[in-house]
Symmetry: C2
Subunit: 208 residues, 2 copies
DNA sequence: TGTACATCAGTGAACGCGCGTTCACTGATGTAC
DNA sequence: TGTACATCAGTGAACGCGCGTTCACTGATGTAC
């Protein structure tokens, strides 16, 4: 039977959220429309009242996954104890064992990147925007901390995070997995502290 | 009809090579057993005379993809003009536009990582071994160039390569894509030259 | 504000299709004597 | 070395299954008057 506009919008959101988690967990082709609808508390028939196709839902689910990540990042940044170490707090969280073990609600680039790379059009566009968003957050935080070349460093940091998580997730030996996470984390910390020093030096030199 | 042992072995290799390329190009679930067999010049029925299942072929195909990558790396390292810049020549090749556009014969971690991360057992084990192999090559070359902490740097470099390629491949804007590749490449070059200097300094200090 | 009708979210059966896998069959290769 | 038989790589039809999508139907919601 017909639902109110608000209920319809809520249902739509539930489908997107279910899909966002399931696609990351099992891959786009590893989940059926029926399973997504079941997770959202519905039967499969009504799917096409909300989305044109499974592909269209994937696009919305990808956007939602990036939004979810960005919200989590904002939360981390908002914590008072992270005020003076915003960049490293984001890095620590990203490279945590918790994140490595939580594909379902983890970074969409690692969970879906290989599949998205093969696609074209809208989907790739949404994904590229999500990646840009991740880099932008780092750029801003690096600026706040007075680290020079913030844009370049932001790209390199995000690349490192994504790559490290990919290596860790593709490794069956838990010890090796932890080593990858820890090694990248240590190196990024060291790189940042040496860069922060240099940024401080430049600021001092430029002081009148 | 029955084939000679040599022919059978060759056919098996052809199936693996076809699968290795097709899986990377279209994803494991984006290619059918029949398509792989057709690419290898056969009909689908004979597939199970060579492999127990599609999953078993995926394992062999992943190993073959890593072997292919390692052979290409060896080739690059063997070129006389790369003798004194072995690490940067590997990095330049990996982060090239050519590699970004060639998923089919490119790095298996970027092409299949998201899918492999969800799997368990044999497959993940083969993949982890392949990743270890990539890191080992870099460690050895960093040693050759006298760069300290070669093992840690090797992990970070490979993570950066994989992550950068993933970002580039998931980006629909060609200019942004090139920027990602170039930014990581520049930063790795700078990091390596500053580390090489430090390595040289340590070597000088330790000279009797 | 109340009424009569149109709309449409959700249901569950059904469709057609392609997939991984199996199987009976063929005939060249391998092997035992 | 030659022969007779067993083996098995490759073929193409067939199987059963699950998938994305469609559809007739239901009944509460939205809207026009």
């Amino acid at each position: 039977m017909r639902r109110s506009k608000q209920q319809t919008a809520e249902t739509r959101q539930q489908i997107i959220e279910a899909a966002s988690a399931l696609f990351r967990e099992r891959g786009v082709e590893g989940v059926s429309v029926a399973e997504i609808m079941e997770d959202a508390g519905l039967t499969h028939g009504g799917f096409y009242k909300h989305f044109e196709s499974k592909e269209a839902l994937l696009n919305e689910a990808a956007i939602a996954a990036f939004n979810e990540s960005m919200c989590a990042w904002e939360e981390t940044l908002a914590k008072p104890e992270n005020a003076n170490q915003s960049v490293t707090s984001l890095i620590d969280k990203y490279l945590s064992e918790t994140h490595a073990d939580d594909i379902t609600h983890g970074c969409p680039v690692v969970a879906l990147g290989s599949e998205i790379a093969r696609r074209t059009s809208d989907l790739k566009h949404s994904f590229a925007a999500g990646i840009k968003g991740m880099i932008d957050v780092f750029e801003q935080q690096l600026n706040n901390e007075g680290i020079p070349e913030s844009k370049n460093f932001a790209v390199v940091i995000v690349a490192n995070l994504v790559g490290t998580m990919m290596l860790a997730r593709c490794t069956d030996n838990d010890k090796t997995k932890s080593t990858y996470l820890k090694t990248s984390n240590d190196m990024l910390h060291r790189l940042l502290s040496s860069r922060a020093e240099r940024g401080q030096k430049i600021a001092d030199d430029n002081r009148p």
